[in-house]
């Protein structure tokens, strides 16, 4: 067990606006790390997982967004969770390990014994305290969270091979063409401060090679790939691969869920995974109701306290509350009218859904208006390009209009039905 002097720092890589292009049109309005899953910003989930680490001293969010985009969030989450959270902006790309190295002085200020590195766009149960315990036992410089996936999908990720008894990382390769292993890198790590030495080593090596190359212009011409800047260090290729098999890196396997949140469709899937997790960890966050005094709730549903779900109108003797769920998340100030049916969807802030409308497998953007008896529907294939219907900010779907398997960019009004289209 660690002593009370052994402080831990967590670093969460949040990426930047040029990186999250697959998250459009939602990322046109909000930095992807702040997009809500199960009612909380995406980055909130790894942050609250970090809160469970004993002796957590500080959380750093590292990314390329402007500071002001995170200022409000960072100060409110620090207050809420009573742990210092700070956003650090990278001035230029340093690679996944180089970014960590770039801020090493700040990170080491608290003299931490261990440093967690997490990727914001990873959706999982973040078993961080358990990883730390295992890591201490292994005694290496780093422990990687891994998960088993289907052999067919493994080559989308970093594949790795671990020793079944010692859990040492024996081999690592990024997106291989042939099958190596069905265990993949989850993008969650714990390191000792030695990691900075390892990263610096890579940097120096590259500097040396660069100097050598300058002496041979023939070699420079021969170079098929552009040589990377010396301070650009990638975690996968430059650290994990070379250190595999040297008794320095170990693995910890999770048996829970794991997904990458690259597209809006995946955000809907991950929202459902987190809602299901709430049922175990914090059921008080989920909505309840049987349709008599409030909406009828089916399965896992989040409703922001400021959202209104009510029967409106005059002359209704039987009050038809909406029926909501499973897998629905409703954000602040949304208004859900009577007789509405919501299934597997994310309804963002200030949306109005009018009477008898139906929303299935969709994301409804901030301030949008969904008309009476209209229907916004996706097929439910999270991976297909048009498998989930996405409405951008302030989209109006007029009464009785049907929108199926489509993406609608912000501020559009739909007065005719559409299917399988991207509406600019």
């Amino acid at each position: 067990m660690g002593s009370s002097d052994e402080r831990v720092v967590a670093v969460i890589m949040v990426g930047g606006p040029t990186k999250g292009t697959r998250f459009r049109p939602l990322s046109l309005n909000i930095p992807k790390p702040l997009f809500p899953l199960a009612g909380q910003p995406m980055v909130h989930h790894p942050i609250s997982a970090c809160k469970r680490i004993p002796n957590l001293a500080q959380i750093y969010l590292v990314g390329f967004y402007e500071e002001r985009e995170f200022a409000l969030y960072v100060s409110s989450i620090s207050n809420e969770l009573k742990v210092p959270v700070r956003y650090l902006r990278e001035d230029k790309p340093h690679g996944s390990a180089g970014g960590l190295y770039n801020f090493r002085d700040l990170i080491m200020e608290d003299n931490p014994s261990h440093i967690f590195l997490l990727n914001c766009d990873v959706c999982c149960s973040f078993p961080l305290p358990e990883m730390l315990v295992a890591h201490r036992r292994y005694g290496g410089i780093g422990t990687i969270l891994v998960i088993k996936v289907s052999p067919e999908s493994a080559n989308e990720f970093g594949e790795l091979v671990a020793d079944p008894s010692t859990n040492e990382l024996l081999h690592y390769t990024e997106k291989p063409e042939t099958f190596v292993s069905d265990r993949i890198n989850c993008g969650v790590y714990v390191f000792t401060p030695d990691i900075f030495t390892a990263i610096q080593g890579v940097s120096s090596q590259r500097k040396e090679r660069a100097n050598l190359r300058r002496m041979s212009s023939f070699e420079a011409l021969q170079s098929a790939t552009r040589s990377l800047p010396t301070d650009f260090v990638r975690l996968d290729q430059d650290i994990l691969s070379p250190l595999a098999g040297k008794k320095q890196l170990y693995t910890y396997e999770t048996m829970d869920f794991w997904e990458q949140i690259k597209t809006p469709g995946m955000s809907l899937k991950c929202s459902a995974l987190y809602l299901a997790q709430f049922r175990f960890t914090s059921p008080y966050l989920l909505a309840t109701g049987d349709g008599t005094k409030t909406a009828a709730v089916i399965g896992d549903v989040f409703v922001h306290p400021s959202a209104k779900v009510h029967p409106t109108a005059k002359n209704l003797l039987t009050l038809n509350y909406a029926q909501i769920g499973p897998n629905v998340s409703i954000s602040a100030n949304a208004r859900i009218g009577p007789g509405v049916r919501l299934i597997s969807c994310i309804v963002l802030d200030d949306v109005e859904v009018k009477e008898n409308a139906v929303v299935i497998h969709a994301i409804v953007g901030w301030k949008s208006a969904i008309g009476r008896w209209s229907r916004v529907q996706g097929e439910g294939d999270y991976n297909a390009k048009l498998g989930i219907t996405i409405l951008g900010e302030a989209v109006t779907v007029e009464d009785e209009v049907v929108v199926v398997n489509s993406i609608v960019l912000p501020n559009k009004t739909l007065n005719v039905s559409v299917q399988q289209e991207i509406i600019l």
């Binding site: 008898n356 139906v358 009785e400 049907v402």
Partner: protein, 375 residues
């Protein structure tokens, strides 16, 4: 005066274009605006004193005759069937029914096409026929796309028919044969008992002798033998009802435009019905339902918050809660659309349950187990 007039209604065959509805019921008995199609014509004939109607059919006379006995008693009119054993075209059936159509009164007889709806201004047609003294009168109606049909070219002032042109490539006129004729008994002498076309063989001969006259049909006209035209036809029919008998149409805050509701149907709270909707006997429309441009046949239940437009819902079917049925969806008899399902132009054969959405128009075929809806 006309009390001994007779009429022949050409009912024809299997009604394949109105499937799946005609898989359960012979076409003349499929309801239109809450009344069997053929009853619209029989009532119009009865109203001007026709005493006997002959139905020229080639399919399921037993089913027809059972229904018709009912109408006979209620309306006080004689209805008989003349059954073809082989297809006789559009004129042959007249020869087959000759004995029923001619008596010694010498009165002309009507011939109606059973797929047609209109205001049936038959009294005016009789007067027109008497005034020109020709052998045959036909109604013609103006259409936007005459090349789809047979065009009747007439002399403007007298209505004398000059010629028929089948699906003309160049514009020759915009009046087509409306399928309503008034014929002197002598016309029957021109028709042999074999497959014959009245438009291609019989009428051209009469026109050549300058004995065929055409009257422009006042009011609306529609051939409702296929679903798209059936739905358009309902709009025209209800428009006409608004002008001539508006008390039959529904009223209320939940009604928009022209809506016909059988008195035994129930409509719940918070619905919006119309325009151009017909709701049949025993139907239950639950609360929060939106119906527009559709026909809901006898015994159908539309569950809460569902939305149906531009479609026909067959007898005893159900549409589930929050379901969306639109764009020429035709549900046959006893079809059940599950909750939250979307049907975009699905054509569903009888006794089927729809458990997954139909995103594009397609035909949902029979399942092998016809009686087990759970499969």
């Amino acid at each position: 005066e006309h009390f001994r007039m007779k009429a022949l209604i050409l009912v024809g065959g299997f009604g394949t274009r109105l499937r799946p509805l005609t898989l359960s019921v012979p076409k003349p008995l499929v309801e239109f605006a809450n009344k069997p199609m053929i009853l619209h014509q029989i009532e119009a004939l009865k109203a001007i004193g026709v005493s006997e109607v002959v139905l020229a059919i080639n399919y399921q006379p037993e089913v027809m005759l059972n229904f018709l006995k009912d109408f006979e008693t209620k309306l006080g009119i004689t209805i008989t069937c003349s059954q073809e054993t082989e297809p006789l075209g559009t004129a042959g059936p007249l020869a087959l029914a000759r004995d029923k159509l001619i008596d010694d009164s010498g009165e002309p007889f009507f011939v109606l096409n059973s797929d047609v709806i209109s205001e049936y201004p038959l009294k005016q047609m009789i007067e027109f026929h008497k005034s020109h003294g020709g052998e045959a009168s036909i109604m013609v109606t103006k259409v936007d796309e005459p090349s789809k049909y047979g065009v009747v070219v007439t002399e403007e002032s007298t209505g004398k028919v000059e010629r028929f042109v089948e699906k003309p490539k160049l514009f020759v006129g915009n009046k087509i044969n409306a399928g309503i004729y008034l014929l002197n008994p002598s016309v029957l002498d021109r028709i042999e008992l074999r497959p014959t076309s009245i438009e291609k063989e019989v009428f051209p001969k009469i026109a050549a002798e300058k004995m065929l006259f055409a009257m422009v049909l006042p009011g609306f006209w529609m051939d409702i033998g296929q679903p798209k035209d059936y739905i358009t036809g309902l709009r025209l029919y209800l428009d006409s009802l608004r002008k001539n008998a508006s008390s039959k149409l529904a009223t209320g805050t939940h009604v928009v435009g022209n809506v016909l509701v059988d008195e035994s149907a129930k409509i719940g709270e918070g619905c919006l019905i119309g325009p151009d909707v017909a709701i049949g006997p025993g139907c239950v429309i639950e609360s929060g339902v939106r119906l527009s441009r559709c026909t809901v046949m006898r015994g159908v239940r539309i569950k809460k918050h569902a939305c149906v437009s531009g479609s026909i819902i067959g007898w005893h079917s159900t549409v589930g809660q929050w379901a969306r049925v639109e764009n020429m969806t035709i549900l046959g008899e006893d079809v059940h659309v599950c909750d939250e399902i979307y049907s975009n132009g699905g054509v569903v054969l009888p006794h089927k349950e729809i458990k997954s959405s139909i995103l594009k128009p397609e035909i949902q075929k029979f399942q092998l187990k016809l009686n087990n809806k759970k499969e």
